[in-house]
Symmetry: C2
Subunit: 130 residues, 2 copies
DNA sequence: ATATTTGCAAATAATTTGCACGTAA
DNA sequence: TTACGTGCAAATTATTTGCAAATAT
């Protein structure tokens, strides 16, 4: 069967607090370094296990960065939205998907975000697979 | 300095021919397996080195898959476009970005591609970094 | 009391590198 | 003939796992 219980432990609280205050995708190693800076001693394995669990619960979003290293961020997948990612600091801002055709406009207006690129992927079934 | 020359070798021809006939993202390991199936004996290191070189030349596009394993596909970054990726076979079809607001419509009409999801990321400078 | 979590050290898996030998130009 | 490429084995890096000790309930 699946998960049976969920104890509240210091490592988990510490990791959650790092994720809560960083609006950007962080690798397991970066989170581990953040913990050390805070004086919170947690093993890297525990960081990985905690991130896996948070992801399984749907509390965080994981995505491999350009080099393939997996990174994590607190992000509700509940409301469908997209991300605006700053090329210099990595800060992630949420963008709702209502007005797709004015995305550049609204991005600048709402978030002061100056757009200089984007990546889009559509998923589904191709003609051959339907 | 950068690259000084570019010899035409059998390993490079074989790897290029696999990429040329597969309209999907393939990992280094998958390309290596494809080579073995063709009876072409090339070391995995050479596969990696060749892919790095092709990427540096801008001939192929690399992207980490969901597990962080890096995958590669022949893809001109010259004309700006996006990708439609089949969830069952992985086939990639190009999608131009003219009519963003009708993407679902046009996708089905043009490519017989039944859309069931997408991922979008915007890049630029956030308010703090400008 | 006991199920769950943790740390540590060892195991994996993907990717990179050093170097002696092979090959294209 | 010489700069460039390749294979192989070893190194590196990210991540996972086994297990005994610690902790939350």
């Amino acid at each position: 069967m699946g998960i049976r219980a969920d104890y509240v432990t210091r490592p988990r609280e510490w990791i959650a607090s790092i994720l809560a205050r960083e609006p950007r995708f962080l690798s397991a190693a970066q989170i581990h370094q953040g913990l050390e800076r805070d004086g919170a001693r947690v093993s890297l394995s525990t960081v990985y296990r905690t991130l896996d669990r948070l992801q399984a619960k749907g509390d965080i979003t994981a995505r491999p960065d350009a080099d393939g290293e997996v990174t994590y961020m607190l992000c509700e997948p509940t409301r469908h939205h997209h991300h605006a990612i700053c090329r210099s600091c990595g800060r992630v801002e949420d963008v709702d998907c209502a007005a797709m055709e004015q995305f550049a406009e609204s991005l600048r207006a709402r978030n002061g975000f100056e757009l200089d690129g984007h990546a889009i992927e559509f998923f589904g079934k191709c003609g051959a697979c339907r």
